[in-house]
Symmetry: D2
Subunit: 358 residues, 4 copies
Amino acid sequence: MAKTDGGKLRIGIVGAGYWGPNLARNFHASPDWVLAAVCDLDRARAEAVAALVPGTPVVTSLAELLEGNDIDAVAIATPARTHHSVTEAALEAGKHVMVEKPLADTGERGRDMVRHASDSGLILMADHTYCYTPAVVKIRELIEEGALGDILFIDCIRINLGLIQPDVDVFWDLAPHDLSIMDFVLPGGLRPLAVSAHGADPLGAGKACVGYLSLPLQHGAMAHVHVNWLSPTKVRHMIIGGTRRTLVWDDLNPQQRLSIYDRGVDLSLALQQLDGADRADAAISYRLGDTWSPALPEREALGAMVTEFAASIREKRAPMTDGEAGLRVLGILEAARTSLARSGAAVVPVGEPQMEGS
Amino acid sequence: MAKTDGGKLRIGIVGAGYWGPNLARNFHASPDWVLAAVCDLDRARAEAVAALVPGTPVVTSLAELLEGNDIDAVAIATPARTHHSVTEAALEAGKHVMVEKPLADTGERGRDMVRHASDSGLILMADHTYCYTPAVVKIRELIEEGALGDILFIDCIRINLGLIQPDVDVFWDLAPHDLSIMDFVLPGGLRPLAVSAHGADPLGAGKACVGYLSLPLQHGAMAHVHVNWLSPTKVRHMIIGGTRRTLVWDDLNPQQRLSIYDRGVDLSLALQQLDGADRADAAISYRLGDTWSPALPEREALGAMVTEFAASIREKRAPMTDGEAGLRVLGILEAARTSLARSGAAVVPVGEPQMEGS
Amino acid sequence: MAKTDGGKLRIGIVGAGYWGPNLARNFHASPDWVLAAVCDLDRARAEAVAALVPGTPVVTSLAELLEGNDIDAVAIATPARTHHSVTEAALEAGKHVMVEKPLADTGERGRDMVRHASDSGLILMADHTYCYTPAVVKIRELIEEGALGDILFIDCIRINLGLIQPDVDVFWDLAPHDLSIMDFVLPGGLRPLAVSAHGADPLGAGKACVGYLSLPLQHGAMAHVHVNWLSPTKVRHMIIGGTRRTLVWDDLNPQQRLSIYDRGVDLSLALQQLDGADRADAAISYRLGDTWSPALPEREALGAMVTEFAASIREKRAPMTDGEAGLRVLGILEAARTSLARSGAAVVPVGEPQMEGS
Amino acid sequence: MAKTDGGKLRIGIVGAGYWGPNLARNFHASPDWVLAAVCDLDRARAEAVAALVPGTPVVTSLAELLEGNDIDAVAIATPARTHHSVTEAALEAGKHVMVEKPLADTGERGRDMVRHASDSGLILMADHTYCYTPAVVKIRELIEEGALGDILFIDCIRINLGLIQPDVDVFWDLAPHDLSIMDFVLPGGLRPLAVSAHGADPLGAGKACVGYLSLPLQHGAMAHVHVNWLSPTKVRHMIIGGTRRTLVWDDLNPQQRLSIYDRGVDLSLALQQLDGADRADAAISYRLGDTWSPALPEREALGAMVTEFAASIREKRAPMTDGEAGLRVLGILEAARTSLARSGAAVVPVGEPQMEGS
């Protein structure tokens, strides 16, 4: 292990763009970490980020960052097409890695990275920041403790007036948030049986600006995502329907982000012993119950994430958003790209890691 | 023409179920109509509806209703599987017909009805009641006068905790509302290039309880519908994005049902002369403008619809929601059914009448 | 007791105006009551109301209604200035009485009516319909069981664009709702130490169109009411702050009418043993907890009220909204009128019945 | 004038507490200003603020700050009780002054400061930051151009769960925001004919935690303010009713902060020629029109305020929130304190500067 700072781990940030300052600020503020260096090919950009923590060294080559024996881990915030090579170099040098979403630009490269980290006994963490917000952590707890029962459907909406991105379409820009969140809260992760993507490019921008993903799940359940750059109103909304309760997350309502409805459709006990055909004929009623909204702590997600990164390194365990979580999200995005090219045909996502490495 | 009541038209209502009382009340309240008779096989049910307008005759057979020469038209509110035979008999007897949604239980029968009415010079009107609400009438006007520009996308949500219907799935129960509304407000009607349907039956009810419809339109535009019987919250929401403005209809917000946003994504003039590939690279900005919410009159939709039925008969013109509108909706529902059976594959709807009769 | 209809009580409705049809419909629908007659000086109006329940007799004089021995009770829905004389006649004839709000046009007459009913052993009930809505019944239960703790403040808003009434100002038009509700939910009723009224007549309508009532309560608590005819938006909102929890009632949000916030300002135990001056210096923190929204039954308030009227007669007990409740509301309205004439000076309401009769 | 930095004005900040960093950041970011020094008795605090702009000198005495001839103006963010002495010293030294709200701790001292600045030909600006938010600037414009017509009533709500302040009650803590905003948007400023204050201290905190202000205005209009530290929900809401239109400002709805309702109560032309008594009898109808929500720029209020401070100095004119505006707010707060001590009696505010200086 690298040199210690009173037991703190030492992080090097690679990539000083949009996300770099947030990483620098949060690693610095964490009692678990020391910000050891900021690395960017562009020295001025690296210096701008490093200035947030006076005294932080700046380097302009990855090799230079890794050669020193003074860092334990790197946080990669470079463009997606470079994630593979930077990660490979870092793992080669024995560093733990946290990498911004998407894990890589292709599933194959992503699987390669996960296999390499696993073989090296190093942590590979996906920077699924949203998963560490208090609301999402609470949703995960509620599902885990059975408060919702079995999950029946998940409907996600993430729309607003957004700049059309030069390099990615609306699926790759916005859907990773919802996919990583669903992967995080569902026990066993998000493993759709198929992916169907429908998109529209009504302005002739050369890429989908409006998109819908349909993801059939086990046991007849279904997830669906609506992403849209053309909506004049901003919506961040998720419904998670369960057999016991249904949860609604409205991220733009700070006074009541989460609502848990003790309502739903009831199949009586007798009905549940019947076969499908008979159940279809039976009367199905619904139940109206109370609504409950848990208080959520005020806490910055990125701070919780760097804490988890440190804990996973120290406890030599997978982080809550590990490389395989990143791979599952990547696999769905790739399947969506294929489906989109096939007029929305159902595509089975590849790349579930347990089917790969073994 | 039938016997006159001071120039009023005479209507017979066929089917005294859930919808019958609304029809009776509105035809009676209209200055254009006289409620001439209520017909149901079940005399008690017919009498209950007829009692709403003291003195209204009751009959228990369709033949009896049609044989008298005293009615001009019938309003059919019987189950969908009977729409074809009742309509055929009424047209045979020279009566104009208004028929509840869906027009028929199959596209083929629906096309048969439309052709028959056309050949007989009689009005066949689809009971798309929602189209006559003040909000929908206003949306149609706004689109017609160009306030939204070209339509880019339409996103519809119609979800609530609903009783699982014994005979139809959630698509056939709820989607006709959104489909008929889109058909009404879009110039030329709703004519998707294909239909993809994704549904879920997570409770084992024997039919889809959660459903999504993707409808690619001309010029890269797209419509989408989300219908759901399992949502604990009720949502009736439609976004219509246009090149000039975007409209949001929130039917559950009586204080501001319609909002027109003067915002959107701008392609500069120069860009619009480039080919797709070049446009994709160009920077695309967005524009933030005012929001406007038109005042809407308080008016019962069904009242406006019976007025339109009378006007179309008198003016010997197609009503705003004519049989062909009904056929278009029916064609999409049938295509959705096929798509659903094919895992969401894109299905081209048949039954656009102009392709049939000729 | 009057002649029985299978154990049902017999009601005569006096006054066939705006409220008459609602009374007729609900008494008729109740298993406790038979609608025995409708009385109005204007026979046509009486007949219109009576027609809602075919076969209901119509009378055009109060004497005629009361002389028959066939009614147990009268429901009075005549103008306020006649409440006293009609009630006196009915009590004289041995009938129980339910009287529309306000109980009378002056406190003195109201007190007279209450005393007369009490002396005669007859029920005098105030028609505070709003108190019987599911939301208000639930609020009363919650306060009674201590869910809110001690009440600290109540803030009521009842505003909308309303027709300016010819005979009353905005206080007498709208505030009785909030006053009767507070009286209903507060243990012991609403007994302010003083009343201050501030009003505005900015259109020169000759009466207040915008009004505010400040009502200091025992133990430093306070109630406040805002009523307004000139607001373009409609608001029906009440906050009831307690030492344990705070309740918010938003009557125009059918999806979540009641919210109970488990939040508040905490004075630590130690602080509570200090005197005022010391407590002022101490740090006071706040506590953030969950929010809870109870499911409410769908039920018509007037139906519950006629049930309570019957129950109170049969059980020979005061109804939940008895004459004294009506008096308390009336006393506050009278004090408000006086305060308004004195530029908002604090006026102690008279007419608390316990201070009168004894 | 002091030494120039390329034509920029030089500011010294006095007081490095809560507000100091915001002042430092905004003066530094402004093209009009150079941050010349930060002054606080506590050197460490001064240094922490000065560190936001590397190289900024720190001083620990007011005399030291003022003696140098290198500043043009001071921004005072010290406790209210020191505003008078700091301002006097600064004016004495020939510096322009911007002072945090409230202008002073008593009206008398505030009037003294205003007179002194006026006599010295120096700018005295009240730091009414809220007035420079895009929403408030827009409201002022709308009223100025007559979009609302004559103002009939203003209703302000500013409530949330707030820490009980050690030194001030809820009126002095929260009401200055609403008072300064109303003063800013009303032509001629906020000049109530009287002030009535009603407060409650239900927790025994030694000061009002719930408060209501009634402010009768000219021509029968009225303003009202509700401030509250005990509300579990946060509300920032203002209704400004006019003869032509009514404006609603919901500051917590970023998607639609301002709504202008083209609705209201109509007095027909004929009625307006009648006297009060006759008008009262006449039927008054209301009008329902469209709603409009103007787009607002994203802009930091404090940035706009320092720009205005510079412009007023350069153009030798009163700033939009001048000392007299600060005095008017202070006068109302003082009248409220007196009213509160007199059970809500109407108190005429003193201290309108035009009645003083002459």
